[in-house]
């Protein structure tokens, strides 16, 4: 190869400018789901076989858990107060006796409200953060640099966030349940004159309710991390792409949580009857 080789003609413009038809909505969602499945499988593979960096899970626990705590506490307090207020208002129309409301509220909170409704603000706070961070690494070629350095981005970026989100998501949502219960207690006692001793009543809460609530917390923490990481890894373009990925991460996480809630609640209805 000592002599120069030159093509005879200039490349034509027509091919380069030919736009390919955009994939249809079905094809788009099929590709996204298959990519999400691929990321999920690799995440579980690397949880077992991956190479952990010192302190990476702890650091993510702090980012995902500690930094979400105040936002989640305030949000859950308001949600708890509003729900209890509405429950009392509706209950009073049927039976003026509110002595059972504390027990019913606790059951509703543990089984459904705290994990499912609490996962919404958690998804916006954590999902947006994960997608923005990974997305900006994609557009600045840092994920390519990771691959060139022998680190799969799923192993290095997704696994610590997934583990941290499962652990801290559960902790934050359980604490959120406690705060929402506390806020409901204050509303019940101060606004509806419910006896405090009557309100604090967990006799209707069964072990199955607690188990279902905890399963939901664990699942939602994992789902939010996986969906947001997948969106982040699929970021394309520059800062606009990061913005799109962040929005899609939040929307996708919320949608996934709602779908998962439907499935878990349906299964839970038979496995852990209310």
């Amino acid at each position: 190869m000592t002599t120069a080789t030159e093509t005879n003609a200039m490349p034509t413009k027509t091919d380069a400018e030919a736009e390919v038809r955009k994939p249809g909505a079905f094809q788009f969602y099929a590709e996204e789901l298959s990519d999400l499945l691929r990321v999920t499988i690799r995440t579980f593979y690397y949880i077992v076989r991956g190479k952990r960096e010192k302190g990476d899970v702890i650091r993510q626990c702090f980012e995902i858990g500690n930094k979400s705590m105040f936002f989640m506490a305030v949000t859950m307090a308001f949600i708890g107060a509003i729900v209890l207020f509405q429950m009392c208002m509706q209950a009073k129309r049927i039976i003026p006796d509110l002595t059972m409301i504390g027990g019913m509220y606790a059951k509703l909170l543990i089984r459904e409200l705290a994990p499912s409704v609490g996962a919404m603000p958690f998804a916006t706070r954590v999902g947006a953060g994960i997608a923005a961070e990974i997305g900006s690494m994609v557009v600045t070629e840092q994920t390519d640099a990771l691959r060139m350095s022998g680190a799969d981005p799923v192993d290095y970026l997704v696994v610590p966030r997934f583990v941290a989100s499962v652990i801290m998501g559960t902790i934050v949502l359980v604490l959120g349940a406690g705060i929402a219960y506390g806020a409901g207690f204050v509303v019940g006692v101060t606004t509806f004159d419910i006896n405090p001793n009557t309100f604090i009543n967990f006799t209707s809460v069964k072990g199955g309710d607690v188990a279902l609530g905890l399963i939901k917390c664990v699942c939602y923490g994992g789902i939010i991390a996986l969906v947001s990481s997948q969106r982040g890894l699929r970021t394309f373009g520059g800062s606009e792409g990061v913005g799109i990925a962040t929005t899609q991460a939040v929307v996708g996480s919320l949608f996934a949580v709602i779908v998962a809630n439907f499935i878990l609640s349906s299964v839970g209805h038979f496995v852990f009857p209310p």
């Binding site: 000592t2 002599t3 120069a4 490349p11 091919d15 600045t140 390519d144 640099a145 350095s149 680190a151």
Partner: protein, 252 residues
């Protein structure tokens, strides 16, 4: 000419096609001999960086085959590709330095790809930093460095594993002419010291040709020229002639 052409190509690209929304690479074939500094030039959006990422295994072409250091990378799965990364170093256009200290950035490929004791890693990081004329900055963070310093740190990271193939994507983009020439000299010195095969992508023709053994020119996804530096300078191909000499009149 330091290329060992009789040994055979260390990088072989055969009829590579790749398209995103529009075709980016259209049947590119390229042979890069061992121990060669191959400079790939071309105007913006010609497909240079995409071709480099195909050679690095970061992008998979839809058609065609690529061999790097004796392995057909287009036939490898992701885990096999991870092993081959020991043989490829890469400097990225936007530095792509992680949010870690300079020392941790440079040590990163060693820690992930090789099982080395910590003291040896630290020694090699210090040696690399000496080599790129930035001694003792292990504990600084990339955000506190200038563009030229970031490029040097990137060169140190790309070369720390002493890979037989090193790829540089626009190593002087955004740098002043003096710093640019220093980076080119550094690339050449590193290539000579490690006897590696180097591919440099650059739009800075004048600077890049000072270190090149062979030159290729991509235009609209096609390799329209492949030859020596002298052949590039005397080429009659209108696009090559215009680009190499920086003429404003021509087909580009």
């Amino acid at each position: 000419m330091r290329c060992r052409e009789r040994v055979g190509p260390v990088i072989r690209v055969e009829d590579v096609h790749l398209r995103f929304k529009a075709p980016v690479l259209k049947g590119v074939s390229l042979h890069i001999p061992e121990g060669c500094i191959y400079v790939l030039i071309g105007p913006g959006a010609a497909g240079k960086s995409v071709l480099l990422k195909c050679i690095a295994g970061l992008l998979r072409p839809q058609r065609g085959r690529i061999w790097v250091a004796g392995e057909e990378i287009t036939a490898l799965d992701d885990l096999q590709m991870m092993q081959l990364r020991k043989k490829i170093g890469m400097l990225f256009q936007n530095y792509a330095l992680f949010d870690l200290s300079v020392g941790e950035n440079i040590a990163f490929p060693l820690r992930r790809l090789f099982d080395l004791p910590q003291n040896e890693i630290e020694e090699r990081v210090a040696e690399r930093l000496e080599r790129v004329a930035l001694p003792g900055i292990q504990n600084r963070i990339p955000a506190s460095l200038s563009g030229g310093q970031k490029k040097r740190v990137g060169v140190a990271r790309a070369t720390i594993a002493k890979a037989p193939v090193v790829l540089y994507d626009e190593p002087t983009a955004g740098l002043d002419p003096v710093t640019s020439q220093k980076i080119y000299n550094l690339i050449r010195d590193e290539q000579r010291a490690q006897k590696s095969t180097v591919v440099v992508i650059s739009s800075d023709v004048a600077g890049a040709l000072t270190i090149a053994d062979r030159v290729g020119m991509l235009h609209r996804g096609e390799l329209i020229f492949d030859g020596t530096v002298d052949e590039a300078r005397t080429s009659k191909h209108p696009a090559v002639d215009q680009f190499v000499h920086g003429k404003t009149e021509g087909p580009l």
